[in-house]
């Protein structure tokens, strides 16, 4: 693993880190989840080896979020939106649309049966969120030479300092953008909010971060016992026994 950690401050107007048990009438966790924090680091810098011969993705590394500092007290806001009940078709159908073998079929918002059409749902989102996130690069075995790790660290730092990202980072839902700023080590910043809560079993991630090759998008749901003390959520390493994981190949 890299000896360096990187800290960024992230903030935004809204956020929704949906609790899996309340995914229909959405209700957010009071703080950002490790997987959402990882997504922000990924959006700034993540890279992989994509070979044309087998078409599989070999990530160079994954991000290990270590510490989440809550800088603003969690405040909820209720939003109501018209959503659709159905989902888009699978990859095969979309490929046919692209190749012109079939005419595209829109997702009808005015369907009348139980599985299509509009439905009004509530989102209990967070407003005015502000976090300080600290994470470390964990390189994959074949990319773990010191000069490579150093390169990854420097690339992230350079990109983050220039405000560069591959995609706009977001807070749980892509409609809630996140803005970020790199924090130099030793820099004095705002202290965490006086927030304490035992959240209980919280979603850690939905993918197996240890995998060297990404062949599919099979879920791998891991959990950890989350507790925010004095505004700080300490995140255990993914390999740790504190992170409950299913057996390999299972959800």
């Amino acid at each position: 693993m890299s000896k360096r950690t990187h800290t960024i401050e992230v903030w935004g107007d809204f956020a929704c880190f949906t609790r899996p048990e309340m995914k229909v009438e959405r209700f957010s966790y009071p703080v950002i989840t490790p997987s959402a924090a990882r997504g922000i680091f990924d959006a700034i810098y993540w890279d992989c080896d994509l070979r044309k011969d087998d078409g599989v993705i070999r990530p160079y590394f994954h991000w290990q979020v270590e510490r989440i500092e809550v800088l603003e007290m969690p405040r909820y806001i209720a939003l109501r939106r018209n959503e659709v009940k159905g989902t888009g078709p699978g990859k095969a159908a979309i490929n046919k649309w692209i190749s012109g073998k079939e005419n595209p079929e829109p997702l009808w918002a005015d369907g009348e049966d139980a599985t299509t059409g509009r439905t009004q749902r509530q989102t209990m989102a967070l407003k005015n969120v502000h976090y300080r996130l600290t994470a470390r690069i964990i390189p994959k075995a074949q990319f773990a030479a010191p000069e490579q790790i150093n390169k990854f660290d420097n690339m992230f730092e350079r990109r983050a300092k220039h405000g560069k990202c591959f995609q706009q980072p977001f807070f749980g839902c892509s409609e809630f953008p996140a803005f970020f700023e790199y924090v130099e080590s030793g820099e004095e910043r705002k202290p965490p909010a006086s927030f304490d809560q035992h959240i209980g079993w919280m979603l850690y991630d939905v993918f197996d971060l240890r995998r060297d090759v990404v062949k599919d998008d099979q879920p791998f749901i891991s959990l950890f016992d989350a507790s925010v003390k004095f505004g700080v959520l300490e995140v255990p390493p993914f390999e740790s026994e504190k992170v409950r994981k299913p057996e390999r190949g299972r959800v």
Partner: protein
């Protein structure tokens, strides 16, 4: 959130076992050794009594039809006592299944054969039905039975049989892949569908609403189906659903279009429950000799009243929405923190009474909500929920609420309605919670630094002067000029003061002198600082100054002001 409900259920509900639950039963059939039966009302009240451990058929399988619960069911199923719209064929199927279950359970409890024979005899159940119909029974009333002196609901072999039988019904779910339980973190077989929650019919629910359910494709993720999107064991599901049912039934209160459920980690005596004070301050509900909410809170905080140490509170706001349970808010924190915040809520809302010169009683929470609406029934649930959070979390009062309160204040003033204490307290609390030094006092504050406050006071004195000089003139200074004076005092106040001289001329020397003195006092505070226009906050201070001056005038010379509070003259 749900883990706290599970903890509550584990601590407070006996017999928490999947396949069993409480039911309210109204009738009991007593079957003796010879097979003859007598039916009688059960329980002390008209609504019957609750039996804690009744067998429950899996809800998802019940929907397929032709199935029913074991041992405790409705009169429709047990005795085919049907209403005019009931489908005979449907209930005959359920009735036969009820008998079939009894026959199967008779392998461990042979007495049940007698009951099965009775319910299979159409003549005998008809005579029981006729008796019940004459006694005013409803087809949906629940009934249970005892047979040959045995109560099957207390017969362990019979209940164990049910438990095993029920497992065999759900064996299909048992073959599913193991997943991590979101409640316990253990690897479990996820329950495919969760039971529904009762008690939300009054707040948009259907009576039976689902909290965790993923029936539409758009709400499933990662290729997972149904409730495997949030894997939970059957035991965890049973505990959270029973716990929430229990909390809604025993510890919920209406809050506009939602219900607030609150409880404590360690039980708190009802008379020491700070959250109850929000709804019913003790001095409003009990004898006048009772301590006020703030006195009790103070004694709880200082330890004079014993309270469990390291206690926590939990508050959940929920409502129903098209068959689903909607969580609107969740709050938790330490008991000490809660006590100090409720204490602060009452302290911030403290305001002088409109005519006694003393402090107005602590307002009920719903009175504060009603202070910003024309009618309490118009109160939107999000507004009530937001104010609830303001009270419990010690947050600032949102500015739009003050705009609404001010609009209601002006409307009531023009209609000559009495002042609303909760509304004036809320306006005062807005400035306190906003932060900064706003010199807010419950009583008249002659030292207030803001000229808007003194403009309000001046209008109150002018109105009082007019009444003293002319009596009731219908539309007086206030009705005609309040709105203009509170928005553009620079244009209005001068004209009103000039007219005051005519009113002073009509008064006797002593009274005229008193009013002149009052006018001079307010003018001395104002100086030449009369603002040309006032924004929302200025208008709020204007209203507060007007109200506190009126209250001081009505209470007479002995009224308290901030000066007397501070030990001045």
């Amino acid at each position: 959130m749900l883990q706290h409900i599970v903890e509550y259920a584990t601590k407070n509900i006996p017999h928490l076992q999947p396949g069993f639950g409480p039911k309210k039963v109204k009738w009991r059939i007593t079957i003796n050794q010879t097979g003859t039966a007598v039916v009688e009302p059960y329980g002390s009240s008209e609504d019957g009594s609750e039996l804690e451990r009744c067998p429950e058929y899996p809800a998802n399988l019940l929907q397929s039809g032709g199935r029913c619960h074991f041992l405790v069911e409705t009169l429709q199923v047990v005795l085919l006592l049907l209403g005019t719209n009931d489908d005979l064929e449907k209930y005959q199927g359920k009735h036969q299944y009820f008998i079939e279950l009894l026959k199967m359970a008779a392998t461990v409890t042979p007495e049940l054969i007698k009951a099965a024979d009775l319910f299979n005899d159409s003549h005998r159940i008809q005579s029981l039905s006729e008796y019940l119909r004459n006694a005013g029974a409803k087809p949906t009333d629940k009934v249970f039975f005892t047979v040959a002196g045995l109560d099957p609901l207390k017969h362990e072999p019979c209940l164990e049989w049910w438990s095993e039988f029920r497992k065999s019904l759900t064996i299909k779910e048992g073959n599913a892949a193991l997943m991590l339980c979101f409640m316990s973190g253990e690897k479990v077989v996820p329950k495919a569908t969760h039971p529904k929650i009762s008690g939300l019919k009054a707040v948009g629910g259907r009576g039976q609403d689902i909290l965790i359910g993923f029936d539409k494709k758009a709400f499933e993720s990662l290729g997972l189906e149904q409730s495997s999107n949030c894997a939970m064991s059957e035991d965890a599901v049973n505990r959270y659903s029973k716990g929430l049912d229990h909390l809604i039934a025993k510890h919920s209160r209406m809050l506009a279009g939602a219900k607030v459920v609150h409880w404590f980690k360690e039980a708190v005596k009802p008379e020491d429950d700070p959250l109850s004070f929000l709804y019913e301050p003790p001095e409003l509900t009990e004898a006048a000799a009772q301590a006020s909410a703030r006195q009790i809170l103070e004694s709880l905080r200082s330890g004079q009243r014993p309270a469990p140490s390291d206690n926590h509170y939990f508050a959940l706001t929920i409502s129903g929405a098209s068959g689903r349970v909607m969580v609107r808010d969740w709050m938790e924190g330490s008991f000490e923190e809660l006590v100090s915040r409720i204490e602060k809520w009452f302290a911030d809302l403290e305001i002088v009474a409109r005519d006694s010169g003393k402090l107005a009683p602590d307002p009920k929470f719903m009175a504060v909500c009603g202070a910003i609406m024309r009618d309490l029934k118009d109160l939107p649930a999000p507004t009530a929920t937001a104010l609830w959070r303001v009270a419990l979390a010690g947050l600032p009062i949102p500015q739009p609420f003050i705009a609404q309160a001010l609009a209601r204040f002006r409307a009531d003033l023009i209609d000559d309605k009495p002042f609303n204490h909760a509304r004036m307290g809320l306006i005062k609390a807005y400035f306190i919670r906003k932060g900064g030094d706003h010199n807010m006092s419950a009583y008249l504050n002659k030292e207030h630094p803001d000229p808007a406050y003194h403009c309000g006071r001046l209008l109150a004195v002018l109105a009082s002067l007019q009444r003293a000089a002319l009596g009731d003139v219908g539309a007086g200074v206030v009705q005609r000029y309040y709105v203009a004076a509170s928005q553009t005092p620079g244009l209005t106040i001068g004209r009103l003061v000039a007219n005051a001289q005519n009113h002073l001329n009509k008064l006797d020397g002593g009274l005229a002198f008193r009013y002149q003195e009052q006018l001079a006092e307010v003018h001395s505070r104002l100086g030449d600082r009369i603002p040309r226009t006032l924004g929302l906050e200025g208008q709020s201070l204007f209203a507060l100054g007007y109200y506190q001056q009126i209250a001081a005038n009505r209470a007479g010379k002995n009224t308290k002001t901030n000066e007397t509070n501070e030990g001045g003259n």
